[in-house]
């Protein structure tokens, strides 16, 4: 694995993280991603694309995409993480490398609004037929508000704080425990 | 006046056969359930189903042919039944067998099939023609051993008249075609499996592949008509087989016993085997049963 | 007479051989001429009878016994006609050769086989 990383490092700049013996992550810049993926697929036998997913870092105004690759020979999972701009939210399509990637990309397009120009059927709706709001998996989308607005709430639903509820129902004579000193407090 | 009595008898005969056929259906479901280790629905469940489907308040139709499809089907069942003399020597159950012989019965079976195929076809659902295509092609293959067996019988008794064939089998169990011409009976019984469309050959309805096949668009009373016909038609087929191969019946009880046993044969086979693929089913019928049928003919005709 | 006959046939065969073996159009025509000549010799030799004179009715030949004294005149007549015809054919052939040469600038018969099959 080390050798592999070194080989990659010879070529491009990466950051590297080992999670488990069979799970590694690589951070890479957007411009290198296609090169890296093709290199891994063609030369290093990471022939399987397990998934492609996104994380919305609303605060930093970016999306993080993770390409999860798998090597059948060495049985190693390798996640390639790449940061893209949230405003622009566009990424090169990889359906030429893995044809089934179009499905992931279509999903990301619908749920995050990340565009993959050239990916087949990317504009077709996947789960949300006729969605009109901002993509729902973006963190600035308020799903509860949307639900209340769109669906009919059945009256009678109320929520309680479990702690208070338990206090009230089960431990009528509840005594506050003494505050335990912790390292963090200081 | 004579004809009125004839019609009256025919109505009685039809009702008996329908009730019997539907009950048989219920019994079969019970048997299947027991084979699975269940209780299964009550024996009268088919009647309930029919009443319920008739009791639907709304129905839809795709056009005239769709409307007439079940009618054709039921008419086919009725006609087939009416051209078979059910009980040997009985006036009530001789039906309209004076109109034609065995060939008429064999071809009248197609009347209902054709009408149903057209009706289902007009439904516009792609599964209907798929099911029909399968059904027709399976029919072409199981008709072959059956036809060969019928020819063998025609050679044996030198007639195609069902009443005469039954008459020739009277007077002892050894006179039955089953014992005088066993090969023909084997061929015919195998093709009966195909005709009844029980499990190894249930490629037409095939719930997992083409949900229910041809009648997929049939609803309400159309469906009820088809269900009624199912009972009647099953009874008609069994009576035909009984007449041709198992010595016929001289009273209702013997008829019931014999047809029940014949039916059990296909039921047991059906409960025991999984389903064929369409082409396997066709090849099967054109292989062994056909060879047996040919041998039966050669045996009867030349030895 | 036999000698002449053999000579005629020999010429015939030589001519045919020439026609078949030579590629040059003119040589083929010459071959044809040889064949012709051979045929003429054959004709003449067939008409020849030993110890007889030419079929000219002059003083040498007795008019009454002319039939026994002269050779058969008809082959000689025939050969004259045949020679004329042969000459005409040969001339025509040569015309063709000239025309062909004008058109194609070649005298090899192999160059004239675009018409086939």
């Amino acid at each position: 694995m080390k050798q592999l990383l070194n080989r990659i490092k010879d070529k491009i700049e990466i950051e590297f993280l080992k999670q488990r013996d069979d799970l590694y992550f690589i951070n890479v810049e957007e411009k290198h991603i296609i090169f890296l993926l093709s290199y891994l697929k063609e030369q290093e036998e990471f022939t399987h694309l397990s998934f492609l997913q996104a994380v919305d870092y609303n605060e930093y105004n970016m999306f993080q995409l993770t390409y999860m690759l798998y090597n059948y020979e060495t049985k190693v999972n390798l996640g390639i993480k790449v940061i893209i701009d949230r405003e622009k939210s566009e990424m090169t399509s990889i359906h030429k490398l893995w044809p089934h990637a179009w499905q992931f990309q279509r999903e990301l397009h619908e749920l995050y609004g990340i565009n993959f120009p050239g990916s087949p059927r990317v504009n077709e709706s996947f789960v949300l037929e006729g969605w009109e709001e901002i993509p729902p998996m973006r963190r600035d989308f308020d799903t509860k508000k949307y639900s209340e607005k769109t669906f009919y709430q059945r009256p009678g639903r109320y929520t309680k704080n479990p702690k208070d509820y338990m206090k009230e129902k089960l431990y009528k004579n509840f005594v506050e425990p003494p505050k335990i000193r912790r390292k963090d407090d200081e | 006046m004579d004809i009125m009595i004839k019609i009256f008898y025919a109505i009685i005969s039809i009702i008996v056969a329908t009730v019997y056929g539907l009950t048989l259906g219920g019994i079969v479901r019970k048997i299947y359930a027991r084979a699975h280790g269940r209780f299964g629905p009550p024996v009268w469940q088919p009647f309930l189903d029919i009443i319920k489907t008739h009791g639907k308040r709304v129905s839809i139709s795709h056009g005239i042919m769709f409307y007439l499809g079940p009618v054709f089907r039921f008419a086919g069942g009725l006609g087939t039944y009416l051209f078979i003399p059910v009980i040997f020597g009985s006036a009530i159950f001789s039906n309209f067998s004076i109109a034609g012989d065995l060939l008429l019965v064999m071809y009248f079976i197609f009347f209902g099939q054709l009408g149903m195929a057209l009706g289902a076809g007009e439904g516009g659902h792609p599964y209907s023609p798929i099911g029909i295509a399968r059904g027709l092609s399976q029919m072409t293959s199981f008709e072959v051993p059956f036809a060969l067996s019928v020819i063998a019988i025609a050679i044996q008794y030198n007639t195609l008249n069902i009443t005469t064939i039954v008459a020739a089998q009277q007077g002892g169990i050894t006179n039955w075609t089953l014992f005088t011409n066993p090969l023909a009976v084997i061929a015919a019984m195998i093709s009966l499996l195909g005709m009844n469309m029980h499990s190894p050959f249930s490629i037409v309805l095939a719930p997992q592949e083409i949900p229910i096949g041809p009648p997929i668009e049939m609803n309400s009373s159309f469906l009820a008509t088809l269900q009624t016909n199912r009972g009647l038609f099953a009874a008609a087929k069994l009576v035909l087989f009984m007449n041709l191969y198992f010595g016929g019946a001289t009273n209702l009880l013997i008829m019931v016993i014999k047809t029940f046993l014949i039916y059990m044969f296909s039921v047991f086979v059906g409960a025991a085997f999984p389903r064929f693929r369409p082409e396997q089913s066709m090849r099967f019928f054109l292989k062994w049963p056909t060879i047996i049928g040919i041998v039966a003919i050669i045996f009867i005709a030349y030895f | 007479m036999i000698f002449a006959l053999i000579l005629g046939f020999a010429l015939l065969l030589i001519g045919i051989y020439g026609m078949l073996s030579q590629k040059n159009l003119i040589k083929i025509v010459i071959g044809f001429s040889i064949v012709d000549t051979g045929v003429h010799i054959i004709i003449v030799s067939i008409g020849y009878l030993r110890n007889r004179t030419a079929p000219i009715l002059n003083s040498v030949v007795d008019l009454g016994k002319a039939a026994q004294q002269v050779v058969d005149p008809i082959p000689s007549v025939l050969v004259l006609t045949a020679i004329v015809i042969g000459l005409a054919v040969t001339a025509l052939m040569l015309t063709f050769v000239v025309e062909l040469y004008k058109k194609r600038n070649s005298l090899s018969i192999d160059d004239y086989q675009e018409l086939k099959w």
């Binding site: - | 008739h54 795709h62 056009g63 005239i64 042919m65 039921f74 009725l78 051209f83 109109a99 034609g100 012989d101 060939l103 071809y107 009248f108 197609f110 054709l114 195929a117 057209l118 076809g121 007009e122 439904g123 516009g124 023609p129 029909i132 295509a133 399968r134 027709l136 092609s137 029919m139 072959v144 036809a147 195609l160 668009e217 309400s220 009373s221 159309f222 369409p278 082409e279 396997q280 066709m282 003919i297 005709a301 | 045919i16 026609m19 083929i28 064949v35 054959i42 067939i46 008809i74 025939l78 015809i85 054919v89 025509l92 063709f96 025309e99 062909l100 086989q113 018409l115 086939k116 099959w117």
Partner: protein
């Protein structure tokens, strides 16, 4: 009463003087030129008139004041004048054809032309061997020189080859003359007899004969001739191919008495070899003139062979004249015509001949010439072939017979292919240049002569009954009124058919009546559907009537000849009708090839037939003769081809599918029945006379195989017309088997099936024609859901398929019942099993058809279409009424059939009221109908009562796994409907027969390709061919 010697003298004189006249202007010389040619024609015509009509005895002309053998003498008799008349006429006409050329060319070509004609005249008339040689050389030299008239490279080299080859041939001829003289001491044919030649002397005769024979361009020593044909100007080639050959063949005829018998047989063989191989090589040829060259060579071979053979056998002079003369005239006129037309069209590839479509009259003339050249009636070649086959069969010369028939087939094949290219290839923008009157005039004159001779032979030689002319009269009459609208013409046609039926069929209860109903009344009804045609439909009704009258005449034909010519008329008409289809090029050629092959089998079979008393239709008299087994087999093969039996079925899908939609009913329901009629014809004789071999048992098996294979093939078709075509094949298999049962019940079922098939197939095809007319496609999966738009057509098809499949209560069940009863009664059990299978398979294709067209999902583009036009509906309704009537009252048809068949067999069924009882079972059609109506009405009424609120919905309101259907195309299950069945049993439908015929055609093609390699184009090779040929013949004859 001009002495014919003046022809020679005047021609020679004019020839020499022409160059002088030419100084006075080309007009003068041309005037002289044409007046001499015209003079020749008139003189000879005058003489011909004297010999033929006045019966003047043969004229002998002595030259130089002495009589033969002291001087050369000429002879002009009937035959000479006949040949010369044609030769001079062709010379004149060809000169007219070439007038433009003559105006421009050097004077020498006029001179040469005149000399050539003079040579021909001399050659034909002279009786002196050496003089013959001289004229031959004159002819040759002028011909050689004339080839330069087309002054191009090709013609020069071709002329050179021609010269050397011709020179070698005439050298041998000269040698022959000398040797003949040597051994016989004489040069005059009158004074030479074959007795003069002992063993050694035969060499002279041999050389003489072979010299002439080589001039006739026998295969393979004929490459030079073909080059000439290909390259030289058409007008000249017409002369070379026609006039020269005529003269040479006449020379051959003159020296025939000298030849010993062994020579005759060898030369016959060589002629036949030439015929078959030239035609074989011809099928690879694409240059029209070279193609015609092959055909010419072949025809000369045939003519020579017929001359030799008839002489050898010593058949009566009339017949040998008919044979040789027929072939001669046929070849003479047709070939001249075709060469002239080729000169007008000026296309060097037969595939480019579609330009001829710009000039319809010329196209018609072209077609007539091709038909004549193919040896089809009524042209003279046909009669020659007819007699020739008789002679060949009579002398048991089977190899020659088969070779001639194969050769004819090959020839017909390439000629009809040519016609197909002409009529069907894509027409480019280019137009033909204006055709001059001088070019078209000779063609018209010759066509008129052709027709005149044809009619002369028909009336004077065979004295055929007047109704045999009807097909020709029909086509001619329709040609005259071709400017009318098609509706008017359709009505006239119906009237004609009705009149025809009225006058010709006062028939009793007989098979004739049944087929009369099918052919005549059926045609009358089906023609109604053609009223729908929009354009004037030029030619269509002519061909149609020709076919109908041809079919009708079969029934009342009084002799085998009448039967056969009507058979051929019918075939030609059918071919032309098929060819009218848009993409019918290939199907039409396949059809005509198979049909002609079948016809030749029948022809050969008729050759074997014993004579029949000429009193009444042969269907009634054929029982009195015993047909030899060989004839039976041959004719059955021929009839089976027509009824598309297994093995010869590959023509039907294409022909049925590509013929115009309203023509197909004629093919399926009537035309195919002619084969059945033929088989019945043979069977009648077979049952009246005790047979020694049960041929019909095997025919029965063939019918069974046709039935099952047809059904299988139909199942996997996407094209509705192909599907129905294969269905016809299957149904005809049923008919064949029931006819070949040769039992009472079998024949009843066969005739019942015939009538039934006629009705439902006509009905379905017309309904389908309507559907195709509206939808514009034949592919079934492109239709769908049309029941909503075309309910009447749907009902027709529904009734039709119920009738086909044999489901009670309609008439189809009756046929099935009769068929199985008769099969089991006869003891054909396994066949009965096969038929059960076939009839079950027929459900598959029938359902496929009706579902794919009428049920399922309607396409967007069909949402606004209407019901079929009324003219399509009228015949459908008539047929529906017919079918319902015989379904309801089967006695309407069973009773008469019982009577009809009772003429041939003892009755085996009992008809009691509506109850038909056979030895095996019984059937009461009337009661079945009532019971069916009853059992149908009961559930219907119940359903109407119980089923309260029924909402009729549209086609997309279906359960589609909770989705809505995307488009009708993806929802309509029609394409490749029986794929699972194909998986299971598709192996049976592998096109084995198709590949067999493909192999045959490819094999023939490659064989042709192989043989034509010998024509290397090298002059020396050609000389070598000649030499080797002579040597080979020499050894074969064993001189």
């Amino acid at each position: 009463m001009v002495n014919p010697i003046y022809i020679i003298i005047l021609s020679l004189l004019a020839g020499f003087l022409l160059s002088i006249f030419d100084k006075g202007g080309r007009k003068l010389s041309l005037t002289v030129f044409y007046s001499v040619l015209t003079f020749n024609v008139f003189v000879i015509a005058d003489w011909f008139y004297r010999f033929a009509i006045l019966g003047v005895s043969t004229l002998t002309i002595n030259t130089a004041g002495f009589s033969a053998p002291l001087s050369i003498n000429l002879q002009l008799g009937m035959l000479e004048s006949f040949v010369l008349l044609f030769a001079n006429l062709a010379g004149l006409l060809s000169a007219i054809y070439l007038i433009k050329k003559f105006k421009e060319s050097k004077i020498s070509s006029l001179i040469l032309y005149l000399i050539l004609i003079m040579g021909v005249n001399g050659l034909v008339m002279t009786r002196d061997l050496f003089n013959m040689f001289v004229f031959l050389e004159i002819l040759s030299i002028s011909t050689f020189a004339l080839t330069i008239l087309t002054k191009n490279k090709k013609s020069l080299s071709a002329g050179f080859k021609y010269m050397i080859a011709g020179g070698v041939a005439s050298t041998f001829f000269l040698l022959g003359v000398i040797f003949v003289y040597y051994f016989s001491g004489n040069l005059n044919l009158e004074f030479i007899s074959s007795n003069d030649f002992t063993n050694y002397g035969l060499i002279g005769v041999f050389l003489l004969a072979i010299g002439i024979f080589i001039e006739l361009k026998p295969f393979p020593a004929n490459g030079w001739a073909l080059d000439v044909y290909e390259s030289v100007n058409s007008g000249i080639v017409a002369i070379i191919a026609v006039v020269n050959s005529a003269a040479i063949i006449f020379v051959l005829y003159k020296i025939l008495p000298l030849l010993p018998t062994v020579y005759l047989s060898v030369f016959t063989g060589m002629g036949i070899v030439t015929y078959i191989f030239s035609n074989l090589v011809g099928i690879r040829q694409s240059n029209p003139k070279r193609l015609l060259g092959y055909s010419s060579v072949a025809q000369m071979g045939l003519l020579a062979a017929s001359l030799f053979y008839t002489t050898k056998l010593g058949v009566s002079q009339n017949i040998s004249f008919l044979i040789a003369g027929g072939i001669f005239i046929n070849h003479f006129i047709a070939k001249a015509l075709l060469f002239w037309i080729a000169g007008i069209v000026k296309k060097n590839n037969i595939k480019d001949w579609s330009v001829l479509r710009n000039n319809i009259p010329l196209l018609i003339l072209f077609g007539i010439s091709l038909l004549a050249l193919s040896g089809l009636p009524p042209f003279p070649g046909f009669w020659a072939k007819w007699e020739m086959v008789k002679v060949f069969v009579g002398s048991k010369y089977y190899i020659g017979l088969s070779a001639i028939l194969v050769g004819s087939l090959l020839e017909a094949f390439y000629l009809f292919r040519w016609f197909g290219y002409t009529t069907k290839n894509k027409l480019n923008k280019e137009t033909m240049e204006q055709v001059q009157f001088s070019q078209i005039f000779p063609i018209i004159v010759f066509v008129l002569i052709l027709f005149f001779t044809s009619f002369w032979i028909m009336t004077n030689v065979y004295s055929l009954n007047y109704f045999n002319y009807l097909p020709l009269v029909a086509i001619f009459g329709m040609f005259l009124i071709s400017f009318l609208r098609s509706k008017v013409k359709a009505i006239i046609s119906i009237a004609a058919v009705v009149l025809y039926g009225y006058f010709l069929f006062p028939l009793g209860m007989s098979i004739q009546l049944l087929f009369g109903i099918i052919f005549i009344i059926g045609s009358g009804i089906v023609i109604i559907s053609t009223i729908n045609r929009k354009n004037t439909g030029k030619g269509f009704y002519g061909f149609l009537l020709m076919m109908i009258f041809g079919m009708g005449n079969l029934i009342i034909a009084e002799s085998f000849l009448a039967f056969f010519i009507n058979w051929e008329f019918m075939t030609i008409a059918a071919y032309l009708l098929i060819l009218r289809g848009k993409r019918a090029k290939i199907p039409a050629i396949v059809f005509i090839t198979f049909s002609l092959a079948g016809a030749y089998f029948i022809l050969a079979g008729f050759g074997y037939m014993p004579n029949i008393a000429n009193n009444g239709a042969i269907i009634n008299t054929i029982g009195t003769i015993k047909i030899p087994l060989m004839a039976m087999i041959l004719m059955i093969i021929g009839f089976l081809v027509k009824s598309a039996s297994f093995g010869a079925h590959i023509w039907i899908p294409g022909a049925y599918a590509e013929a115009e939609d309203d023509v197909t009913p004629f093919f399926s329901s009537m035309f195919s029945k002619t084969g059945i009629f033929g088989i019945i014809l043979l069977a009648i004789s077979f049952i009246k006379q005790t047979p020694d071999f049960d041929l019909f048992y095997w025919l029965g098996w063939l019918g069974a195989i046709s039935a099952i294979v047809g059904a299988f093939l139909a199942t996997f078709q996407e094209d509705v017309k192909k599907l129905m075509a294969y269905s016809s094949m299957s149904q005809l298999g049923y008919i064949i088997v029931s006819i070949s049962l040769l039992s009472h019940l079998g024949w009843i079922s066969g005739l019942y099936l015939t009538l039934n098939h006629f009705m439902f197939k006509a009905m379905i095809f017309i309904a389908i024609a309507g559907v195709i007319y509206r939808t514009g496609t034949r592919q079934m999966y492109k239709m769908g859901g049309l029941i909503k738009k075309m309910p009447l057509s749907f009902i027709t098809v529904l009734i039709g398929i119920i009738a086909i499949s044999g489901v009670p209560p309609l008439s189809g069940f009756g046929s099935k019942w009769l068929l199985y009863n008769s099969l089991i009664e006869k003891g054909w059990f396994l066949q009965a099993g096969v038929f059960f299978f076939a009839s079950a398979v027929s459900f598959l294709y029938l359902y496929r058809m009706i579902h794919s067209i009428f049920l399922g999902q309607m396409k967007y583009e069909h949402q606004n279409i209407k019901e079929s036009p009324i003219w399509y509906l009228i015949p459908q309704v008539i047929f529906i009424i017919g079918i319902m009537a015989i379904s309801m009252y089967p006695n309407l048809i069973i009773q008469p059939l019982n009577t009809i068949v009772g003429n041939y067999f003892n009755s085996s069924i009992v008809i009691d009221g509506y109850n038909v009882t056979s030895s095996l079972g019984y059937w009461n059609g009337n009661m079945v109908m009532y019971v069916t109506m009853g059992v149908f009405a009961v559930p219907l009424i119940l359903l109407l009562l119980i089923n309260g609120r029924t909402q009729t919905v549209k086609q997309f309101n279906i359960v589609y796994a909770a989705e809505r259907p995307e488009s009708p195309q993806t929802t309509h299950f029609a394409h490749n409907m029986f794929s699972h069945y194909y998986k299971a049993l598709g192996g049976l439908t592998k096109p084995r027969i198709q590949s067999f015929w493909n192999y045959v055609s490819e094999g023939t093609n490659s064989l042709a390709g192989l043989f034509r390699q010998i024509y290397s184009g090298n002059g020396q090779t050609y000389i070598l061919h000649i030499i080797l040929y002579i040597v080979a013949i020499y050894f074969i004859m064993g001189v």
